[in-house]
Subunit: 548 residues, 2 copies
């Protein structure tokens, strides 16, 4: 087993340097890949949790808590041990020395085994992700399963690469008068301290695994604090991690679950003097608060952003419209990477099917979304359900912001009558309403904005991203000069750019081992998944030297 | 020239991975190495600055300021352009894009050229270091010259390694039904933002070069704010950097000097919203303040610490005493790495010359220091001068702290009658006076402490370092078990350990490319010179992708 993991780790370390296509965990939920009956067994495992205390053998106050509710309408009724934050931190600290002493390689192998077992339970986790986030099943499987696992393994590879970049021991021989001075030196990786991962409602595993595994592989215990609305996917994850750690002879309290119903547990943990690493995904307001207040910790945040598409011209009008329509519809725009602002010159654009006025582009995009989501049964497999009341409120308020180009539509889910399903709204705004489109409206809300020119669009992009950040940017143009100008603007704004996506790659999607997710270079995030900066501060090197 | 630098960089990148002995810049001030007349020309260059405005072609308010005074008694009378902090930051920002666009390799080559020219001016800088820090000349040459330059190059190598660990472009080809999805991707290193280096009084170049070059090579402009008492060595450095940058076609405002007489310029700059990196060496109080308040920046601090020697037993009693005596005397204990607490079991220790009681060890150490510094002319070449009034006050107050084992002695400097030269004081304290020896007494002040046992000594070491930090720890023992126990304690305390130093290697000294200076794992410092964590957060990666 460990032979196989060694190969996987070695391939993963190649992949993070090459940045081409590679994936360790197959994204297809096909029985040909995951085996006959795997899907059914995963669903059964998920259902076995409903209405019961979750089987997690972990210290706590003795109370069991939980307030999750499926966006598909089901009461989940699962409870989790109520944690005592002080106790979790103490247990974590006590577990640390043996984990440190195991060394980078052993820790990486244990992490690989945890990820392997998580992968084997992808269907179970997919159901858990679906019913806490509202993602449609296939997306919940892919993004919540293999893609999240790939991101976790990527973090392990980065950690291992950083920890092993220098030799663990050395002979130092300095020429000197007479005899040379000779010392033998030993360099040991020591962890920074207890890590805290604060999960989000929409991507509980995908956004938590990088921080979890980056901290763990570098020797740090991790307290996992899920969003109160999406505990189950991380509870399963924590249970698997604890099982593998115990089997490998380590203290399972290296990974613990800190469930809450929303009483401010994150603040209590994040400012604990012994919590030295915080990985957070969530609101800008709280992320900024953490950056300013959890000063005892290394804080990595992923927050809100204003993702932008600049439309200049295209030689594939239909492909462009279809691609953007898909990006707006996927998980009802509830992705941190989903585009919000679509900037189009007021005089319209050149396309392969002739000149299109601003209004034509807006109307054609609306029609493309309409076509894509025309059939309810197929629509729900793309949009999933609305994750929480906050998104629904914003969506309902959106028409008042400007002129509605496409109305949002409530869709009846064929399998879940209680599901809250909505298609995107598209609102037209004049360029001067930067007060509206210059901030994030998280959910299925997009704005088409008529700008003076593509240059103007790029300036709007740069300004809004400098002000509020973005995780993605996208440009459509047939002009190499415009593309170069967009690349330059994206560099200045510090945002990852996609150019002329008209096929099966979408701006919302980033592939582990190749695409960086976020940059750290604009207000949307202080870190990137995954770059050297994401792992480096999580460990230190301590040396011992003596005469050889 | 650049061919030569490429070889140097490539060798430096090997060295940071191998961690054996390597140095790019010769530490011997011999004319056989640096050429006949080099020493004299350096001294003349230094003297040419005295009593005049320093020739630095840089924007400022129009006023010239400066309040440096040599610990050797000379008035220096050098003035520097008074900066407008807002202007320096604006100039730095404006200079950034072209420097970013040059890419990692070109920046590293320019940094190597800056270091090369600094190296050529080592004698001039040595005089400047001597007369601002009080270091003796040879130390000022070595630590302020080649050793500092090595640390700078080390930072360049770490930065280059981190920036080039992944390919700058990639072809991503994902198998799909029908045609594979193919994207071409480009990954660009972008700087974090304006860097600020806050220098210290005692090692203006050695402690500033790592941050300066780590920021610069990763694309960030740097504002250098020297300690008001040690401006000249960094003014020369900044002038050289600006000269090389301009010759290479870059904006010299990538590196600027922010001189002050002590009006709080550091705070003004460190909390500027556009200052995104702060490298600080200095007091614990101010370092802690920066960590809590410069939350917009990546903050690396090196602060005070309680460096400790644990004496258990030795098979080289004379060597041990000589080694410790040297460490206490070198630059009058004014090194952040100088030992302060010497912990000895109250029942004494076994040595190669028989059992020695606690009092015998203390007395023999006092005698060893006395012998080492017995001759005034030779003593001053080891101790240098007292850097400032604060150190002198602490030294004068030290005898009241406990029982004096060795009195400090004022030494008349044969060449500089105005020099303030003092030999170390050694004070005996009982184990229970942790309130005294548990904090730093910066300067030529050492404590011998009688502990219950070596185990007790290790517990004291661990406790004092956990509370106040340390940059170095040292142990003497003939027992492999004690050495292992000391190594384990040092790991837990997060401090670098030296074992049984009895010859020509001293606990105060750390060699670039092999020894880590500080760990970041205890309160004395948040960063290590240099490990991956020191460079990684200074840059981000921004990608652009399009269909291939």
């Amino acid at each position: 087993m460990f032979d196989q993991h060694e190969q996987t780790l070695s391939r993963a370390m190649e992949a993070i340097a090459e940045r081409g296509y590679w994936s360790a965990y197959p994204e297809s939920p096909s029985p040909r890949v995951y085996g006959e009956g795997a899907a059914e067994r995963g669903k059964e495992a998920f259902e076995s949790y409903l209405g019961k205390p979750f089987p997690l053998d972990q210290h706590g106050t003795g109370h069991w808590i939980g307030a999750e509710r499926s966006p598909y309408g089901m009461e989940l009724g699962i409870t989790y041990p109520e944690p005592s934050p002080e106790q979790l931190v103490e247990l974590a600290k006590a577990a640390m020395p043996a984990w440190r002493d195991a060394g980078p390689k052993a820790r990486a192998l244990v992490c690989a085994e945890i990820l392997h077992r998580i992968n084997q339970r992808s269907f179970e986790i997919a159901n858990a992700v679906q019913h806490t986030t509202g993602q449609a099943f296939v997306m919940a499987f892919q993004a919540g399963g293999p893609h999240a696992q790939d991101r976790g393994l990527e973090a392990v590879a980065y950690g291992l690469a950083a920890m092993t970049a220098a030799q663990p021991s050395a002979r130092w021989e300095k020429p000197a008068k007479g005899e040379p001075l000779v010392m033998s030196k030993k360099f040991t990786v020591v962890p920074r301290g207890v890590g805290l991962v604060i999960g989000c409602n929409t991507f509980p595993t995908w956004n938590a695994y990088p921080g979890l595994f980056a901290s763990l592989v570098t020797g740090n215990p991790v307290v996992v604090k899920p969003h109160p609305g999406a505990v189950l996917p991380l509870a399963i994850t924590v249970a698997i991690a604890r099982e593998v750690l115990a089997e490998a002879g380590f203290d399972p309290d290296l990974v613990t679950l800190a469930a809450e119903e929303g009483q401010g547990l994150a603040t209590q943990l994040a400012t604990h003097p012994d919590v030295r690493i915080v990985d957070f995904t969530g609101s800008t307001e709280y992320g900024d608060w953490l950056e300013r207040n959890a000063t005892q910790a290394l804080v990595h945040t992923e927050k809100a952003g204003v993702n932008t598409i600049v439309v200049d011209s295209t030689d594939a009008y239909k492909g462009m419209l279809g691609n953007i329509a898909f990006s707006l519809s996927l998980y009802s725009g509830q992705m941190c990477t989903a585009p919000q602002n679509i900037l189009i010159p007021s005089e319209g654009i050149a396309t392969d099917v002739g000149h299109k006025s601003f209004s034509e582009v807006a109307a054609d995009l609306a029609a493309a979304v309409g076509r894509l989501l025309g059939d309810d049964a197929r629509a729900v497999e793309l949009t999933g359900a609305i994750v929480n009341a906050g998104v629904l409120e914003r969506l309902e308020a959106a028409p008042s912001l400007g002129e509605v180009v496409l109305e949002s539509r409530a869709v009846a889910h064929p399998s879940f009558p209680g599901a809250t399903v909505r298609t995107p709204v598209i609102v037209e705004l004049p360029a001067e309403r930067e007060d509206v489109y210059g901030r994030e409206h998280f959910g299925p809300i997009a704005f088409v904005v008529a700008t003076a020119s593509t240059d103007d669009s790029l300036q709007v992009l740069r300004r809004t991203i400098a002000g509020r950040g973005a995780l993605t940017a996208s440009v459509y143009s047939t002009s190499e000069q415009v593309l170069e100008s967009a690349e330059r603007t994206a560099l200045e704004a510090g945002v990852n750019l996609s150019c002329n996506l008209t096929g099966g790659v979408f701006v919302n999607q980033s592939a582990a081992f190749s695409d960086y997710h976020g940059t750290g270079a604009n207000p949307a995030a202080t870190a990137s998944l995954t770059d050297p900066g994401f792992v480096a501060g999580r460990f230190h090197l301590v040396q011992s030297r003596r005469h050889a």
